[in-house]
Amino acid sequence: MTPEQAVTAVETVTATIDGIEVQVPKGTLIIRAAEKLGIQIPRFCDHPLLAPAGACRQCLVDVEVNGRAFPKPQASCTMPVENGMVVKTQLTSETAEKAQAGIMEFLLINHPLDCPVCDKGGECPLQNQAMTAGRAETRFEGEKRTFEKPINISSQVLLDRERCVLCARCTRFSEEIAGDPFITLNERGALQQVGIYEKEPFESYYSGNTVQICPVGALTGASYRFRARPFDLVSVNSACEHCASGCDMRTDMRRGKTLRRLAGDDANVNQEWNCDKGRWAFKYLTSRERVKTPMVRGADGELHEASWPEALAAAAAGLKNKNVGVLVGGRATVEDAYAYSKFARVALGTNDIDFRARPHTEEESEFLTAIAPKLSANYLDIDAADSVVLLGFEPEEESPIVFLRIYHQVRKRGLLVISDAPLTSRGSKKLKAKLVANTSSISGLTNKSVIIVGERAAETAGLLSQAVALSKSSGAKLAWIPRRAGEPGAIQAGALGTLLPGGRPVADSSARVDVATAWGVGTLTSNKGRSTSEILTGLSDRTLDAVLLGGVDPLDISSAALSQMLHSFVVSLEISHSAVTAIADVVLPVAAVVEKAGSFLDWTGKARTFDKAVEDAQSRSDLRILSMLADELGTPIGLDSVAATAREITSLGKWDGADATFTQVAAKPAPTDVTLVSWRLLLDLGTLQSGETNLAGTAHKAAAHISAAHASKIGVSDGDSVKISSDLGSLTLPVIIDQIADNLVWVPRNSEGSQVIANLGFTSGSVTVAKA
């Protein structure tokens, strides 16, 4: 419910369904009103989040208004309830029952009865409703329509046209919800079929939802096809670890192995949708690269498997009484991040901790300390917004469910979207976003506007300051939406050099006393902690001796990050072997998200808790390992379990003292030389997507976007290759001529053939572009 709906009284209507009176808000469809009474009318095309279609005709019921009966049964999924309406469903009307049975019979004549080999068998609305509304034996003796068995409509979605009942849920979803009308219904009559344009396959970031809402086995996911029967699966509620959108998820396991993941239901967050990354990127869980046992680097320079006591002792020996930096990474659960935070302060006696494994600045540190913990915007504010401003943020790529929410309002009521992006991305095009060169050209914001800043805002000096100022002057709500799922929780957990748990500024002595008391330690160090880049500098200039890392890919930070750690004592808590474990002195295997309980905070601050999905998982969560390590160091942090940690976080509560200071930073003049700009695409070379070849097949191909003037200056046209070079290296990509400033070149940040930190040494900066 949006805030306006809450204050205006909802007009209701009263009708009778199967002799039972029901009162529903005006506009409620009959099928929905019946649900309210627990009467289930069979249906296929109907979906509460899609516009009514009335196509399958399965939900026919008898309707009478003001004593006048409709001569024909009516589709209950398209007709709103009216006052005094009398509805008779299959339960009380023979006409309705016969009508439904007739439709069911028709639906089955061309349906292959291949249920025994169909993925949907066992959880199939057609199968289920054929049992309730169908006849036991068919009267059809003719020839069924046949098609070639499944065809790929993308590398991850397969279409079995024989099974399709042509309900158009998938095509309506793609058009209405995702804004990606890459699939349509083609041909006519019984030969009607879902199809793609051959040159434009179903490469939507949301394509997996069509598999989930397909009421038959017509659309299947390539990764799950023929892998399991639904009745052999154990479903567990889970949270998505891929971004900060905060999707509710369902993970389906068989014998401890994740077989598939589905979007869960949360009306105020992801409704019933998720993105393909959340759905289909989980092979990393079972990757061969998983670290299974603790490992310690021996005198021979090689890592050797070790027992837990041995590894913990080795780690403790390397950390004890040393100057240690802690890099948490952006994927920790709230509880794990809290353990890192407490471990740094209590066991290592330092504030040198940072969760940011990405470009960051002092301005951002202050923003995260003083502003971010107090932000309150949420999805419903987007629903009610009069305009949405996107600063350093590409919702479709960086928080896809936020994108769906904005898109819904754009489609429904033409919500104004303003973006400071340098070019119109595919997402911006769908949002009809108005591009602005800088925040000074944004006007007309009100207290119903929402300003969203992404993590990339930190890459433009002064942008966060401008966002704060813009929000203050207009009353617009401010939201900060990082990419990684763990970042909002890491702020609340105090996994930052300037923050203690609950949003308490380190600089505030009463905040330190608060926390020290709760933790039962004398005092907490008051010095301002180092940021990620300062920790790395500290390691390379030997002012720090050691580093403890959670899931961190050094190439997310800088091309030099790994080499900066080389001379230090490195303790790596990891799920899989990585660049860091390759140089680490001690590697401690940690549980992946399905192997532990915990919670993630989404960008709105809402917690989504989840239980361990793999019951007999051997791996331990970060917090348990840190707790053991703290014991080994002789400075216990007492975090024995996720539940105990969660209780401790709750009892500590949120900071209600004085705000930390946020110093406005002046903007720098825009660069005039040829400059690289970039962001990450949703599907790219991200660590958690490794091994997902079907998913990777729908990733957008990397290309360099430059202006027409720029292209003609260097003598290239669409499709030609260009070489983009910096002092550190170069990359070569096909060129796309786009509407972009003449001195800018945009490339994806971490895609196949375009890994800018590795290839060029930065995420944005001065480059030369030449014909390759």
Binding site: C56, G102, R139, A190
Partner: protein
């Protein structure tokens, strides 16, 4: 004395009836001056008072349809002419447009003026290329003559007229599918409400009228309501085009007052082909339940046909004599509906697929009498269950042929195949040529 009342077809025998000059010589384009001198509401009232009813099949009063368009809503309004004539048996709009395209254009101008539209569209069936060309030329000539475009006849009224050739789908004759197709989408019927009068073409208030309905308007404006009401019956006023086809001596279009009987039209057409008797016929195209010789004196107006259990439809009188196998006819029609079902809704899409297979078997003499009950049950599960009226039309020939000729269906089974010589029903057969 002839019962014919040629108005739309009055000049069809003139060599240049389709040209602007020919049309004007016969008094054409006189009505628009008169209509543009009236207020728009007066035009609507005149058409309402005349009792003109839609000639496309449903018979909805044309003037009422026009009056549903909201006024003063500051939105563009559209008039769309449905010239997607594709029903088996129906052949009135195509000859009319070929012989007299300007009467439609004149009607479009008056109708658009009445509903405050400044843009009108003619959606014409794409296969009839000769008609498309003729309409194109007529529209071009009308623009040149100042009947279309800016400030028509100096009366300050502007109208653009766009001709759109459909790609050949029966479903696009359904008005909302037509609108989707006109907008560039795949032609499939839309969910109603909203009705086109509120949200039609490009979601704007739209009137969709049949060719003949619009073409009848100039004469009403020109000659008056009273003149129009001298023709027809109490509730079905005026003249209309009856299209006679099949086993008759002189098939063709017969323009007569509503309420004429088939017996009278057959007389005008010289009767059945020699030596043969009427077996069954459709009063309004293949979608209307068939009649038999017992209905020869049924008045062919909206009420009369309806009271006898069928529909006036498009007044397409398909005449079949005793050489015709009724099962075969039903199968042929069913094949048409299967081919033309748009696929959107289940009963029509799957039902027509099944019906054809059943009828094929029945024609081949397979099965028992129980099959006929199954066939009727399938029809019952299709009729009134579908998204649009196409499927109702698809089962009409089956239900009605079974009603009147059940014994003939059974004869196929007892005979182990069709008892008819299919050649005998053809016009090229010696029997037919007699």
């Amino acid at each position: 004395m002839s019962k014919l009342t040629p108005v739309l077809s009055a000049a069809w025998d003139q060599a240049d009836s389709f040209t602007l000059e020919g049309y004007k010589r016969n008094g054409g384009y006189a009505a628009i001056a008169k209509a543009l001198g009236m207020s728009a509401d007066e035009v609507i009232t005149t058409i309402k008072d005349s009792g003109l009813r839609g000639r496309g099949g449903a018979g909805f009063p044309t003037g009422n349809k026009w009056s549903f368009i909201p006024q003063g809503d500051n939105k563009p309004h559209y008039l769309v002419v449905n010239a997607d004539e594709s029903e088996p048996g129906t052949c009135k709009d195509i000859p009319l447009l070929l012989a007299n395209p300007h009467v439609l254009i004149e009607g479009v101008i008056i109708g658009s003026y009445a509903i405050r539209a400044s843009h009108a569209f003619i959606y014409v069936r794409g296969e009839v290329v000769h008609v498309v060309r003729r309409l194109q030329q007529a529209i071009e000539d009308a623009y040149k003559a100042g009947y279309l475009g800016k400030n028509i006849l100096g009366k300050g009224y502007d109208l653009e007229l766009t001709l759109h050739a459909g790609a050949g789908a029966y479903i696009c004759g359904e008005e909302t599918a037509l609108l989707d197709s006109l907008e560039g989408f795949r032609g499939q019927p839309r969910l109603r409400p909203p009705f086109p009068a509120i949200a039609g073409l490009y979601a704007m208030p739209t009137v969709v009228n049949n060719v003949e309905s619009i073409a009848s308007v100039p004469a009403i404006i020109d000659k008056g309501v009273e003149w129009f009401q001298t023709m027809g019956t109490e509730k079905s006023k005026g003249f209309t085009l009856y299209s006679l086809s099949g086993h008759v001596k002189n098939p063709g279009q017969f323009e007569a007052p509503l309420g004429i009987t088939l017996r009278e039209i057959l007389e005008l057409a010289g009767g059945m082909r020699s030596g043969h008797q009427l077996k069954f016929w459709t009063p309004g195209g293949s979608s209307t339940p068939i009649f038999t010789a017992e209905h020869l004196d049924t008045p062919l107006d909206y009420e009369g046909v309806s009271a006898a259990g069928s529909m006036l439809g498009t007044k397409a009188l398909q005449i079949f004599d005793e050489t015709t196998c009724v099962v075969r006819a039903a199968l042929r029609w069913s094949e048409f509906y299967k081919h033309e079902s748009c696929g959107k809704c289940t009963p029509c899409r799957e039902g027509t697929w099944w019906l054809v297979q059943m009828l094929e078997d029945l024609e081949a003499g397979k099965g028992s009498e129980a099959e006929l009950d199954k066939l009727l049950d399938l029809c019952d599960n299709i009729a009134g269950r579908s998204f649009c009226a196409l499927a109702d039309g698809a089962v009409a020939p089956i239900i009605s042929t079974l009603k009147y000729f059940r014994s003939e269906y059974i004869a196929h089974q007892t005979n182990g195949g069709c008892p008819f010589d299919p050649v005998a029903s053809t016009l090229f057969d010696a029997v037919g040529a007699k």
